[in-house]
Amino acid sequence: MLEIILKRLLAAVPVMLIVATVVFLLLRLAPGDPARVIAGDMASEEAIAQIRTDMGLDQSIGTQYVRWMAALLQGDLGQSVQTRQSVASLIKARLGPTFSLAAWAILLTIAAAVPLGVLAAWRHRSITDRGIMAGAVLAFSVPAFVVGYLLILVFAVKLDWLPVQGYSPLADGVGEYAAHLVLPTVTLAMVFVALITRITRASMLDVLGEDFVRTARAKGVTERIVLFRHALRNAAIPIVTIVGVALTTLISGVVVTETIFNIAGVGRLIVDSVLARDYPVVQGTILFFSFIYVFINLMIDLAYVALDPRIRY
Protein backbone atom coordinates (compact mmCIF):
# COMPACT_ATOMS: atom_id res chain seq x y z
CA MET A 1 0.00 0.00 0.00
CA LEU A 2 2.77 2.40 0.92
CA GLU A 3 4.44 1.68 -2.40
CA ILE A 4 1.22 2.45 -4.27
CA ILE A 5 0.84 5.76 -2.44
CA LEU A 6 4.42 6.75 -3.24
CA LYS A 7 4.07 5.81 -6.91
CA ARG A 8 0.87 7.82 -7.27
CA LEU A 9 2.39 10.79 -5.45
CA LEU A 10 5.32 10.75 -7.85
CA ALA A 11 2.96 10.65 -10.83
CA ALA A 12 1.13 13.73 -9.52
CA VAL A 13 4.33 15.79 -9.31
CA PRO A 14 4.74 16.49 -13.06
CA VAL A 15 1.07 17.49 -13.37
CA MET A 16 1.49 19.99 -10.53
CA LEU A 17 4.69 21.34 -12.08
CA ILE A 18 2.90 21.86 -15.39
CA VAL A 19 -0.03 23.56 -13.68
CA ALA A 20 2.37 25.91 -11.90
CA THR A 21 4.19 26.63 -15.15
CA VAL A 22 0.97 27.33 -17.08
CA VAL A 23 -0.24 29.70 -14.35
CA PHE A 24 3.19 31.40 -14.33
CA LEU A 25 3.17 31.81 -18.11
CA LEU A 26 -0.37 33.21 -18.19
CA LEU A 27 0.79 36.55 -16.84
CA ARG A 28 3.96 36.65 -18.93
CA LEU A 29 2.33 35.67 -22.20
CA ALA A 30 -0.48 38.20 -21.86
CA PRO A 31 -0.38 40.95 -24.45
CA GLY A 32 1.19 44.18 -23.21
CA ASP A 33 3.04 44.99 -20.02
CA PRO A 34 1.68 42.94 -17.08
CA ALA A 35 2.66 45.64 -14.58
CA ARG A 36 0.56 48.14 -16.53
CA VAL A 37 -2.41 45.74 -16.63
CA ILE A 38 -2.24 45.23 -12.88
CA ALA A 39 -1.81 48.92 -12.10
CA GLY A 40 -4.86 49.85 -14.16
CA ASP A 41 -5.52 52.60 -16.68
CA MET A 42 -5.19 55.52 -14.26
CA ALA A 43 -1.88 54.52 -12.66
CA SER A 44 1.15 56.81 -12.69
CA GLU A 45 4.46 55.68 -14.17
CA GLU A 46 5.92 55.45 -10.63
CA ALA A 47 3.13 53.16 -9.48
CA ILE A 48 3.72 50.92 -12.48
CA ALA A 49 7.46 50.86 -11.82
CA GLN A 50 6.75 50.03 -8.17
CA ILE A 51 4.57 47.05 -9.12
CA ARG A 52 7.20 45.90 -11.60
CA THR A 53 9.88 45.81 -8.88
CA ASP A 54 7.54 44.36 -6.24
CA MET A 55 6.54 41.46 -8.45
CA GLY A 56 10.04 41.01 -9.84
CA LEU A 57 8.77 41.68 -13.35
CA ASP A 58 11.93 43.66 -14.14
CA GLN A 59 14.02 40.50 -14.00
CA SER A 60 14.61 38.00 -16.77
CA ILE A 61 11.86 35.46 -17.32
CA GLY A 62 14.21 32.65 -16.25
CA THR A 63 14.98 34.29 -12.91
CA GLN A 64 11.28 34.99 -12.37
CA TYR A 65 10.42 31.38 -13.08
CA VAL A 66 13.04 30.00 -10.67
CA ARG A 67 11.88 32.39 -7.94
CA TRP A 68 8.24 31.54 -8.51
CA MET A 69 8.90 27.80 -8.30
CA ALA A 70 11.19 28.15 -5.29
CA ALA A 71 8.55 30.16 -3.45
CA LEU A 72 5.85 27.63 -4.36
CA LEU A 73 7.92 24.75 -3.03
CA GLN A 74 8.01 26.56 0.30
CA GLY A 75 4.22 26.91 0.21
CA ASP A 76 4.38 30.60 -0.67
CA LEU A 77 1.55 31.44 -3.08
CA GLY A 78 2.56 35.09 -3.39
CA GLN A 79 1.37 38.37 -1.97
CA SER A 80 -1.61 40.60 -2.69
CA VAL A 81 -0.83 43.83 -4.54
CA GLN A 82 -3.75 45.57 -2.86
CA THR A 83 -3.55 44.53 0.78
CA ARG A 84 0.02 43.20 0.97
CA GLN A 85 -1.32 40.14 2.79
CA SER A 86 -0.05 36.74 1.74
CA VAL A 87 -2.32 34.91 -0.68
CA ALA A 88 -2.26 31.86 1.59
CA SER A 89 -3.70 33.85 4.50
CA LEU A 90 -6.38 35.39 2.26
CA ILE A 91 -7.44 31.93 1.11
CA LYS A 92 -7.36 30.55 4.64
CA ALA A 93 -9.62 33.33 5.90
CA ARG A 94 -12.26 32.45 3.29
CA LEU A 95 -11.95 28.69 3.28
CA GLY A 96 -14.77 27.99 5.78
CA PRO A 97 -17.80 28.88 3.64
CA THR A 98 -16.30 27.35 0.50
CA PHE A 99 -15.49 24.10 2.23
CA SER A 100 -18.96 23.84 3.79
CA LEU A 101 -20.62 24.55 0.47
CA ALA A 102 -18.53 22.07 -1.50
CA ALA A 103 -18.74 19.31 1.11
CA TRP A 104 -22.53 19.52 1.46
CA ALA A 105 -22.95 19.68 -2.30
CA ILE A 106 -20.89 16.51 -2.74
CA LEU A 107 -22.82 14.73 0.02
CA LEU A 108 -26.13 15.80 -1.49
CA THR A 109 -24.96 14.63 -4.91
CA ILE A 110 -24.02 11.18 -3.67
CA ALA A 111 -27.21 10.87 -1.64
CA ALA A 112 -29.41 11.86 -4.59
CA ALA A 113 -27.58 10.82 -7.74
CA VAL A 114 -26.53 7.26 -6.88
CA PRO A 115 -30.03 6.04 -5.90
CA LEU A 116 -31.56 7.84 -8.90
CA GLY A 117 -29.03 6.32 -11.28
CA VAL A 118 -29.51 2.84 -9.83
CA LEU A 119 -33.29 3.22 -10.07
CA ALA A 120 -33.10 4.39 -13.69
CA ALA A 121 -30.88 1.46 -14.65
CA TRP A 122 -33.02 -1.02 -12.75
CA ARG A 123 -36.20 0.26 -14.44
CA HIS A 124 -34.40 0.54 -17.77
CA ARG A 125 -36.55 2.01 -20.59
CA SER A 126 -39.54 2.48 -18.28
CA ILE A 127 -41.35 5.76 -17.64
CA THR A 128 -39.32 6.18 -14.44
CA ASP A 129 -36.06 5.79 -16.36
CA ARG A 130 -37.09 8.26 -19.05
CA GLY A 131 -38.35 10.70 -16.45
CA ILE A 132 -35.07 10.60 -14.52
CA MET A 133 -33.02 10.97 -17.71
CA ALA A 134 -35.13 13.89 -18.94
CA GLY A 135 -34.72 15.53 -15.53
CA ALA A 136 -30.97 14.99 -15.74
CA VAL A 137 -30.65 16.63 -19.16
CA LEU A 138 -32.76 19.54 -17.93
CA ALA A 139 -30.76 19.94 -14.71
CA PHE A 140 -27.56 19.75 -16.71
CA SER A 141 -28.69 22.48 -19.09
CA VAL A 142 -30.19 25.11 -16.79
CA PRO A 143 -27.33 27.37 -15.68
CA ALA A 144 -26.66 27.56 -11.94
CA PHE A 145 -27.48 31.25 -11.75
CA VAL A 146 -30.91 30.66 -13.23
CA VAL A 147 -31.60 27.83 -10.78
CA GLY A 148 -30.24 29.92 -7.91
CA TYR A 149 -32.48 32.89 -8.60
CA LEU A 150 -35.54 30.71 -9.10
CA LEU A 151 -34.88 29.08 -5.72
CA ILE A 152 -34.40 32.49 -4.09
CA LEU A 153 -37.60 33.78 -5.69
CA VAL A 154 -39.66 30.81 -4.47
CA PHE A 155 -38.17 29.89 -1.10
CA ALA A 156 -36.75 33.17 0.16
CA VAL A 157 -38.88 35.91 -1.41
CA LYS A 158 -42.34 34.36 -1.88
CA LEU A 159 -42.44 31.75 0.88
CA ASP A 160 -39.94 33.48 3.18
CA TRP A 161 -38.69 30.15 4.55
CA LEU A 162 -34.99 30.72 4.02
CA PRO A 163 -32.61 33.68 3.97
CA VAL A 164 -32.06 35.35 0.59
CA GLN A 165 -28.28 35.34 0.75
CA GLY A 166 -25.17 35.32 2.93
CA TYR A 167 -23.41 32.78 5.08
CA SER A 168 -23.53 32.09 8.80
CA PRO A 169 -20.63 30.18 10.34
CA LEU A 170 -21.31 26.99 12.28
CA ALA A 171 -19.99 28.66 15.44
CA ASP A 172 -22.99 31.03 15.39
CA GLY A 173 -25.51 28.23 15.65
CA VAL A 174 -26.47 25.16 13.66
CA GLY A 175 -29.91 26.46 12.67
CA GLU A 176 -28.63 29.61 10.95
CA TYR A 177 -25.74 27.70 9.40
CA ALA A 178 -28.08 25.15 7.85
CA ALA A 179 -30.69 27.71 6.78
CA HIS A 180 -28.10 29.75 4.92
CA LEU A 181 -26.61 26.72 3.22
CA VAL A 182 -29.73 24.97 1.86
CA LEU A 183 -30.28 27.03 -1.30
CA PRO A 184 -26.58 27.43 -2.24
CA THR A 185 -25.99 23.71 -1.76
CA VAL A 186 -28.93 22.75 -3.97
CA THR A 187 -27.86 25.29 -6.60
CA LEU A 188 -24.30 24.03 -6.66
CA ALA A 189 -25.21 20.33 -6.56
CA MET A 190 -27.75 20.49 -9.41
CA VAL A 191 -25.36 19.99 -12.36
CA PHE A 192 -23.36 17.49 -10.40
CA VAL A 193 -26.45 15.41 -9.53
CA ALA A 194 -27.41 15.34 -13.21
CA LEU A 195 -23.95 14.24 -14.26
CA ILE A 196 -23.49 11.53 -11.63
CA THR A 197 -27.01 10.19 -12.17
CA ARG A 198 -26.22 9.65 -15.84
CA ILE A 199 -22.89 8.00 -15.12
CA THR A 200 -24.35 5.78 -12.39
CA ARG A 201 -27.09 4.64 -14.72
CA ALA A 202 -24.69 3.92 -17.59
CA SER A 203 -22.26 2.10 -15.37
CA MET A 204 -25.03 0.07 -13.73
CA LEU A 205 -26.50 -0.86 -17.13
CA ASP A 206 -23.13 -2.28 -18.13
CA VAL A 207 -22.83 -4.31 -14.95
CA LEU A 208 -26.45 -5.51 -14.82
CA GLY A 209 -25.90 -7.34 -18.11
CA GLU A 210 -23.02 -9.37 -16.70
CA ASP A 211 -23.17 -13.08 -15.94
CA PHE A 212 -22.58 -12.76 -12.21
CA VAL A 213 -25.71 -10.64 -11.86
CA ARG A 214 -27.77 -13.29 -13.64
CA THR A 215 -26.21 -15.96 -11.43
CA ALA A 216 -27.01 -13.99 -8.29
CA ARG A 217 -30.61 -13.52 -9.37
CA ALA A 218 -30.90 -17.16 -10.38
CA LYS A 219 -29.79 -18.37 -7.00
CA GLY A 220 -32.47 -16.25 -5.38
CA VAL A 221 -30.55 -13.30 -3.97
CA THR A 222 -32.97 -10.47 -3.21
CA GLU A 223 -33.11 -7.72 -5.80
CA ARG A 224 -31.91 -5.10 -3.32
CA ILE A 225 -28.75 -7.03 -2.56
CA VAL A 226 -28.19 -7.75 -6.25
CA LEU A 227 -28.44 -4.04 -7.03
CA PHE A 228 -26.51 -2.54 -4.18
CA ARG A 229 -24.04 -5.22 -3.19
CA HIS A 230 -23.33 -7.11 -6.40
CA ALA A 231 -23.93 -4.54 -9.12
CA LEU A 232 -23.23 -1.13 -7.55
CA ARG A 233 -19.91 -2.23 -6.11
CA ASN A 234 -18.73 -3.26 -9.54
CA ALA A 235 -20.17 -0.14 -11.13
CA ALA A 236 -18.44 2.10 -8.59
CA ILE A 237 -15.15 2.73 -10.36
CA PRO A 238 -16.46 4.75 -13.32
CA ILE A 239 -18.71 6.68 -10.93
CA VAL A 240 -15.85 7.58 -8.60
CA THR A 241 -13.64 8.51 -11.57
CA ILE A 242 -16.24 10.94 -12.89
CA VAL A 243 -16.73 12.45 -9.43
CA GLY A 244 -13.00 13.25 -9.52
CA VAL A 245 -12.96 14.59 -13.07
CA ALA A 246 -16.09 16.65 -12.47
CA LEU A 247 -14.47 18.40 -9.53
CA THR A 248 -13.36 21.16 -11.90
CA THR A 249 -17.04 21.69 -12.69
CA LEU A 250 -17.76 21.86 -8.99
CA ILE A 251 -15.00 24.43 -8.45
CA SER A 252 -16.34 26.58 -11.29
CA GLY A 253 -19.78 26.16 -9.74
CA VAL A 254 -18.49 27.38 -6.38
CA VAL A 255 -17.41 30.67 -8.00
CA VAL A 256 -20.87 31.21 -9.49
CA THR A 257 -22.81 30.05 -6.43
CA GLU A 258 -20.84 32.27 -4.06
CA THR A 259 -21.60 35.21 -6.33
CA ILE A 260 -25.34 34.49 -6.50
CA PHE A 261 -25.68 34.14 -2.73
CA ASN A 262 -23.08 36.77 -1.75
CA ILE A 263 -20.96 34.30 0.17
CA ALA A 264 -17.45 35.53 0.95
CA GLY A 265 -15.61 32.36 0.03
CA VAL A 266 -12.53 31.48 -2.01
CA GLY A 267 -14.54 31.46 -5.24
CA ARG A 268 -15.64 35.03 -4.68
CA LEU A 269 -12.05 35.94 -3.74
CA ILE A 270 -10.89 35.08 -7.24
CA VAL A 271 -13.59 37.19 -8.94
CA ASP A 272 -13.04 40.14 -6.60
CA SER A 273 -9.30 39.92 -7.22
CA VAL A 274 -9.80 39.94 -10.99
CA LEU A 275 -12.05 42.98 -10.71
CA ALA A 276 -9.45 44.66 -8.45
CA ARG A 277 -6.63 43.61 -10.82
CA ASP A 278 -4.92 41.88 -7.90
CA TYR A 279 -3.21 39.40 -10.15
CA PRO A 280 -1.01 37.56 -7.63
CA VAL A 281 -4.17 36.62 -5.72
CA VAL A 282 -5.78 35.35 -8.93
CA GLN A 283 -2.72 33.23 -9.69
CA GLY A 284 -2.46 31.91 -6.15
CA THR A 285 -6.14 31.02 -5.95
CA ILE A 286 -6.09 29.21 -9.31
CA LEU A 287 -3.07 27.23 -8.14
CA PHE A 288 -4.79 26.44 -4.86
CA PHE A 289 -7.87 25.06 -6.62
CA SER A 290 -5.79 23.11 -9.13
CA PHE A 291 -3.72 21.51 -6.41
CA ILE A 292 -6.89 20.52 -4.56
CA TYR A 293 -8.13 18.96 -7.79
CA VAL A 294 -4.92 16.99 -8.28
CA PHE A 295 -4.87 15.98 -4.61
CA ILE A 296 -8.46 14.71 -4.59
CA ASN A 297 -7.90 12.78 -7.80
CA LEU A 298 -4.86 11.24 -6.17
CA MET A 299 -7.06 10.18 -3.25
CA ILE A 300 -9.53 8.71 -5.74
CA ASP A 301 -6.79 6.70 -7.42
CA LEU A 302 -5.97 5.26 -4.04
CA ALA A 303 -9.64 4.60 -3.35
CA TYR A 304 -9.71 2.31 -6.42
CA VAL A 305 -7.56 -0.14 -4.55
CA ALA A 306 -10.09 -0.27 -1.74
CA LEU A 307 -13.02 -0.52 -4.18
CA ASP A 308 -11.49 -3.17 -6.38
CA PRO A 309 -8.89 -5.48 -4.87
CA ARG A 310 -7.91 -6.61 -8.40
CA ILE A 311 -6.34 -3.21 -9.16
CA ARG A 312 -2.60 -3.03 -8.61
CA TYR A 313 -0.43 -0.17 -9.71
Binding site: V23, P143, V146, T285
Partner: protein, 296 residues
Protein backbone atom coordinates in the same frame (compact mmCIF):
# COMPACT_ATOMS: atom_id res chain seq x y z
CA UNK B 1 -20.36 5.71 -41.98
CA UNK B 2 -24.08 5.67 -41.25
CA UNK B 3 -25.04 4.48 -44.72
CA UNK B 4 -23.19 1.19 -44.28
CA UNK B 5 -25.14 0.38 -41.12
CA UNK B 6 -28.52 0.71 -42.84
CA UNK B 7 -29.94 -2.28 -44.68
CA UNK B 8 -29.60 -1.90 -48.41
CA UNK B 9 -32.94 -2.51 -50.04
CA UNK B 10 -32.21 -2.90 -53.68
CA UNK B 11 -29.58 -2.89 -56.32
CA UNK B 12 -30.45 0.68 -57.21
CA UNK B 13 -28.01 3.47 -56.47
CA UNK B 14 -27.47 3.89 -52.71
CA UNK B 15 -29.43 6.77 -51.17
CA UNK B 16 -27.50 10.01 -50.94
CA UNK B 17 -25.77 10.89 -47.67
CA UNK B 18 -28.14 13.81 -47.23
CA UNK B 19 -31.24 11.66 -47.58
CA UNK B 20 -29.87 9.11 -45.12
CA UNK B 21 -29.22 11.86 -42.62
CA UNK B 22 -32.65 13.39 -43.18
CA UNK B 23 -34.49 10.09 -42.61
CA UNK B 24 -32.46 9.51 -39.46
CA UNK B 25 -33.43 12.91 -38.09
CA UNK B 26 -37.11 12.45 -38.91
CA UNK B 27 -37.23 9.05 -37.21
CA UNK B 28 -35.73 10.25 -33.95
CA UNK B 29 -38.19 12.49 -32.06
CA UNK B 30 -35.54 13.78 -29.65
CA UNK B 31 -33.19 14.74 -32.46
CA UNK B 32 -35.98 16.30 -34.50
CA UNK B 33 -37.38 18.21 -31.53
CA UNK B 34 -34.04 19.54 -30.35
CA UNK B 35 -32.99 20.45 -33.88
CA UNK B 36 -36.24 22.36 -34.45
CA UNK B 37 -35.88 24.19 -31.12
CA UNK B 38 -32.28 25.03 -31.95
CA UNK B 39 -33.20 26.29 -35.42
CA UNK B 40 -36.00 28.38 -33.92
CA UNK B 41 -33.64 29.98 -31.40
CA UNK B 42 -31.03 30.65 -34.07
CA UNK B 43 -33.72 32.09 -36.34
CA UNK B 44 -35.05 34.52 -33.74
CA UNK B 45 -31.55 35.75 -32.91
CA UNK B 46 -30.58 36.10 -36.57
CA UNK B 47 -33.85 37.92 -37.12
CA UNK B 48 -33.24 40.12 -34.06
CA UNK B 49 -33.23 43.39 -36.04
CA UNK B 50 -36.65 42.52 -37.48
CA UNK B 51 -38.22 41.06 -34.34
CA UNK B 52 -37.01 43.58 -31.81
CA UNK B 53 -39.08 46.74 -31.93
CA UNK B 54 -36.55 48.73 -29.94
CA UNK B 55 -32.83 49.41 -30.04
CA UNK B 56 -31.20 47.16 -27.39
CA UNK B 57 -29.24 50.14 -26.09
CA UNK B 58 -31.99 52.78 -26.24
CA UNK B 59 -32.63 54.24 -22.78
CA UNK B 60 -36.19 55.18 -21.84
CA UNK B 61 -36.06 56.63 -18.32
CA UNK B 62 -39.88 56.83 -18.14
CA UNK B 63 -40.23 53.09 -18.70
CA UNK B 64 -37.84 51.63 -16.13
CA UNK B 65 -38.45 48.17 -14.63
CA UNK B 66 -41.73 47.73 -16.50
CA UNK B 67 -43.23 44.22 -16.67
CA UNK B 68 -44.12 42.78 -20.05
CA UNK B 69 -46.63 44.80 -22.04
CA UNK B 70 -47.70 45.31 -25.63
CA UNK B 71 -44.92 47.82 -26.17
CA UNK B 72 -42.21 45.88 -24.34
CA UNK B 73 -43.01 42.20 -24.81
CA UNK B 74 -40.60 41.04 -22.13
CA UNK B 75 -40.62 44.24 -20.08
CA UNK B 76 -37.72 46.63 -19.50
CA UNK B 77 -34.60 46.72 -17.35
CA UNK B 78 -33.48 49.24 -14.75
CA UNK B 79 -32.48 51.78 -17.41
CA UNK B 80 -35.67 51.35 -19.40
CA UNK B 81 -34.10 49.29 -22.15
CA UNK B 82 -36.24 46.76 -24.00
CA UNK B 83 -35.49 43.33 -22.57
CA UNK B 84 -36.66 41.40 -25.64
CA UNK B 85 -34.18 43.05 -27.96
CA UNK B 86 -31.40 42.76 -25.38
CA UNK B 87 -32.08 39.03 -24.97
CA UNK B 88 -32.18 38.48 -28.74
CA UNK B 89 -28.95 40.37 -29.37
CA UNK B 90 -27.37 38.65 -26.37
CA UNK B 91 -28.41 35.28 -27.76
CA UNK B 92 -26.92 36.23 -31.10
CA UNK B 93 -23.60 36.96 -29.41
CA UNK B 94 -23.73 33.66 -27.47
CA UNK B 95 -24.42 31.60 -30.58
CA UNK B 96 -21.74 33.32 -32.67
CA UNK B 97 -19.17 32.92 -29.93
CA UNK B 98 -20.11 29.29 -29.34
CA UNK B 99 -19.74 28.50 -33.04
CA UNK B 100 -16.31 30.14 -33.14
CA UNK B 101 -15.19 28.36 -29.98
CA UNK B 102 -16.35 24.98 -31.28
CA UNK B 103 -14.58 25.43 -34.59
CA UNK B 104 -11.34 26.63 -33.04
CA UNK B 105 -11.15 24.13 -30.21
CA UNK B 106 -12.04 21.21 -32.50
CA UNK B 107 -9.42 22.28 -35.04
CA UNK B 108 -6.74 22.77 -32.37
CA UNK B 109 -7.71 19.59 -30.50
CA UNK B 110 -7.67 17.60 -33.74
CA UNK B 111 -4.21 18.86 -34.67
CA UNK B 112 -2.78 18.25 -31.19
CA UNK B 113 -4.47 14.86 -30.86
CA UNK B 114 -3.22 13.68 -34.26
CA UNK B 115 0.31 14.77 -33.41
CA UNK B 116 0.26 13.07 -30.00
CA UNK B 117 -1.35 9.90 -31.31
CA UNK B 118 0.76 9.48 -34.41
CA UNK B 119 4.19 10.81 -33.48
CA UNK B 120 5.43 8.64 -30.63
CA UNK B 121 8.08 11.09 -29.38
CA UNK B 122 5.51 13.87 -29.01
CA UNK B 123 2.95 11.77 -27.18
CA UNK B 124 4.19 11.99 -23.60
CA UNK B 125 5.12 15.70 -23.52
CA UNK B 126 1.89 16.78 -25.24
CA UNK B 127 -0.36 14.66 -23.08
CA UNK B 128 1.32 15.77 -19.84
CA UNK B 129 0.74 19.38 -20.89
CA UNK B 130 -2.91 18.54 -21.62
CA UNK B 131 -3.24 16.86 -18.19
CA UNK B 132 -1.83 20.02 -16.61
CA UNK B 133 -4.32 22.28 -18.40
CA UNK B 134 -7.17 19.93 -17.50
CA UNK B 135 -6.22 20.16 -13.83
CA UNK B 136 -6.93 23.90 -13.88
CA UNK B 137 -10.67 24.48 -13.49
CA UNK B 138 -11.81 25.72 -16.92
CA UNK B 139 -13.76 28.71 -15.70
CA UNK B 140 -10.82 29.95 -13.60
CA UNK B 141 -8.46 29.66 -16.55
CA UNK B 142 -10.94 31.60 -18.68
CA UNK B 143 -11.36 34.20 -15.93
CA UNK B 144 -7.59 34.71 -15.71
CA UNK B 145 -7.20 34.98 -19.47
CA UNK B 146 -10.02 37.51 -19.82
CA UNK B 147 -8.65 39.47 -16.88
CA UNK B 148 -5.29 39.82 -18.58
CA UNK B 149 -6.27 40.08 -22.23
CA UNK B 150 -9.29 42.31 -21.80
CA UNK B 151 -12.85 41.42 -22.77
CA UNK B 152 -12.55 41.58 -26.56
CA UNK B 153 -13.74 38.93 -28.98
CA UNK B 154 -10.27 37.42 -29.55
CA UNK B 155 -9.51 37.00 -25.85
CA UNK B 156 -13.01 35.72 -25.12
CA UNK B 157 -12.83 33.07 -27.84
CA UNK B 158 -9.33 32.04 -26.74
CA UNK B 159 -10.28 32.01 -23.05
CA UNK B 160 -13.27 29.76 -23.64
CA UNK B 161 -11.49 27.52 -26.20
CA UNK B 162 -8.27 26.76 -24.32
CA UNK B 163 -9.91 24.81 -21.46
CA UNK B 164 -11.88 22.72 -24.01
CA UNK B 165 -8.90 21.76 -26.19
CA UNK B 166 -7.31 19.07 -23.93
CA UNK B 167 -10.47 16.96 -23.84
CA UNK B 168 -10.74 17.02 -27.63
CA UNK B 169 -7.03 16.27 -28.04
CA UNK B 170 -7.40 13.27 -25.72
CA UNK B 171 -10.38 11.98 -27.66
CA UNK B 172 -8.60 12.31 -31.02
CA UNK B 173 -5.47 10.69 -29.63
CA UNK B 174 -7.39 7.68 -28.34
CA UNK B 175 -9.04 7.23 -31.75
CA UNK B 176 -5.67 7.52 -33.52
CA UNK B 177 -4.06 5.00 -31.18
CA UNK B 178 -6.75 2.41 -31.84
CA UNK B 179 -7.03 3.03 -35.59
CA UNK B 180 -3.31 2.95 -36.30
CA UNK B 181 -3.22 -0.70 -35.20
CA UNK B 182 -5.84 -1.61 -37.81
CA UNK B 183 -4.53 -3.80 -40.64
CA UNK B 184 -5.51 -1.32 -43.36
CA UNK B 185 -3.50 1.44 -41.71
CA UNK B 186 -0.52 -0.83 -41.10
CA UNK B 187 -0.75 -1.99 -44.70
CA UNK B 188 -0.80 1.58 -45.93
CA UNK B 189 2.20 2.51 -43.79
CA UNK B 190 3.97 -0.66 -44.92
CA UNK B 191 3.33 0.22 -48.56
CA UNK B 192 5.26 3.43 -47.99
CA UNK B 193 2.42 5.94 -47.97
CA UNK B 194 3.68 9.28 -46.66
CA UNK B 195 2.68 9.93 -43.04
CA UNK B 196 0.54 12.97 -43.84
CA UNK B 197 -1.42 11.02 -46.42
CA UNK B 198 -1.98 8.16 -43.96
CA UNK B 199 -3.29 10.64 -41.41
CA UNK B 200 -5.51 12.40 -43.91
CA UNK B 201 -6.90 9.42 -45.82
CA UNK B 202 -7.03 6.65 -43.24
CA UNK B 203 -6.97 8.08 -39.76
CA UNK B 204 -8.83 11.41 -39.87
CA UNK B 205 -12.11 9.93 -41.17
CA UNK B 206 -12.46 7.84 -37.99
CA UNK B 207 -12.21 10.95 -35.84
CA UNK B 208 -15.04 12.79 -37.57
CA UNK B 209 -18.03 11.17 -35.85
CA UNK B 210 -16.75 11.52 -32.27
CA UNK B 211 -15.60 15.05 -33.07
CA UNK B 212 -19.00 16.12 -34.37
CA UNK B 213 -20.56 14.84 -31.16
CA UNK B 214 -17.91 16.49 -29.04
CA UNK B 215 -18.35 19.78 -30.91
CA UNK B 216 -21.97 20.00 -29.81
CA UNK B 217 -20.95 19.59 -26.17
CA UNK B 218 -18.22 22.21 -26.56
CA UNK B 219 -20.88 24.47 -28.03
CA UNK B 220 -23.10 24.04 -24.97
CA UNK B 221 -20.15 24.58 -22.63
CA UNK B 222 -19.09 27.71 -24.52
CA UNK B 223 -22.57 29.25 -24.31
CA UNK B 224 -22.57 28.58 -20.58
CA UNK B 225 -19.04 29.89 -19.96
CA UNK B 226 -19.69 33.10 -21.89
CA UNK B 227 -22.85 33.64 -19.84
CA UNK B 228 -21.01 32.92 -16.58
CA UNK B 229 -18.22 35.36 -17.46
CA UNK B 230 -20.85 38.00 -18.23
CA UNK B 231 -22.66 37.19 -15.00
CA UNK B 232 -19.45 37.58 -12.98
CA UNK B 233 -18.90 40.99 -14.55
CA UNK B 234 -15.92 39.81 -16.61
CA UNK B 235 -17.58 39.58 -20.00
CA UNK B 236 -17.89 42.06 -22.82
CA UNK B 237 -18.20 45.79 -22.03
CA UNK B 238 -21.66 46.86 -20.84
CA UNK B 239 -22.76 48.41 -24.14
CA UNK B 240 -22.74 44.95 -25.77
CA UNK B 241 -25.74 42.98 -24.48
CA UNK B 242 -24.87 39.43 -23.46
CA UNK B 243 -27.19 37.01 -21.67
CA UNK B 244 -24.92 36.76 -18.64
CA UNK B 245 -24.45 40.50 -18.21
CA UNK B 246 -28.19 41.20 -18.58
CA UNK B 247 -28.74 38.81 -15.66
CA UNK B 248 -25.94 40.43 -13.65
CA UNK B 249 -27.43 43.89 -14.23
CA UNK B 250 -30.85 42.63 -13.13
CA UNK B 251 -29.47 41.23 -9.87
CA UNK B 252 -29.95 44.32 -7.67
CA UNK B 253 -33.57 44.66 -8.86
CA UNK B 254 -34.35 40.99 -8.56
CA UNK B 255 -37.04 41.30 -5.89
CA UNK B 256 -38.86 44.13 -7.70
CA UNK B 257 -38.36 42.97 -11.27
CA UNK B 258 -37.49 39.26 -11.35
CA UNK B 259 -38.16 39.07 -15.11
CA UNK B 260 -34.86 40.80 -15.90
CA UNK B 261 -33.08 37.76 -14.50
CA UNK B 262 -35.61 35.12 -15.48
CA UNK B 263 -36.27 35.82 -19.18
CA UNK B 264 -32.63 35.78 -20.30
CA UNK B 265 -32.17 32.81 -17.97
CA UNK B 266 -34.97 30.89 -19.67
CA UNK B 267 -33.59 31.75 -23.11
CA UNK B 268 -30.15 30.59 -22.05
CA UNK B 269 -31.52 27.37 -20.54
CA UNK B 270 -33.52 26.57 -23.69
CA UNK B 271 -30.50 27.21 -25.87
CA UNK B 272 -28.20 24.98 -23.84
CA UNK B 273 -30.92 22.33 -23.49
CA UNK B 274 -31.47 22.22 -27.26
CA UNK B 275 -27.74 21.87 -27.95
CA UNK B 276 -27.26 19.21 -25.26
CA UNK B 277 -30.26 17.14 -26.38
CA UNK B 278 -29.17 17.38 -29.99
CA UNK B 279 -25.68 16.27 -28.94
CA UNK B 280 -27.05 13.31 -26.98
CA UNK B 281 -29.20 12.20 -29.91
CA UNK B 282 -26.29 12.65 -32.28
CA UNK B 283 -24.03 10.58 -30.07
CA UNK B 284 -26.56 7.76 -29.96
CA UNK B 285 -26.54 7.72 -33.76
CA UNK B 286 -22.95 8.37 -34.61
CA UNK B 287 -21.03 6.73 -31.83
CA UNK B 288 -22.33 3.24 -31.11
CA UNK B 289 -19.54 2.70 -28.61
CA UNK B 290 -20.86 5.53 -26.44
CA UNK B 291 -24.55 5.19 -27.17
CA UNK B 292 -24.71 2.16 -24.92
CA UNK B 293 -24.10 4.51 -22.04
CA UNK B 294 -27.17 6.60 -22.63
CA UNK B 295 -29.65 4.33 -24.34
CA UNK B 296 -28.44 0.87 -23.43
Amino acid sequence: MSSSSLPSHSLAAPPSQLRVAATAVLKDPVMLGSLLLLLLLVAVTVGAPLLAQHDPGALTPRARLKPSSEVYWLGTDSLGRDLLSRVLYGGRLSITLAALVSAISVAAGLFIGLAAGYVRQLDAPIMRLMDGIMAIPGLLLAVAMVALGGANIVTMVAAISVPEIPRIARLVRSVVLSVREEPYVEASIGAGTPALKVLWRHIMPSTINPLVVQATFVCAAAILTEAVLGFLGLGFPPEIPSLGSIIAEGRPFFQRAPWIVLYPGVFLALLILAVNMFGDALRDRLDPRLSRQSKG
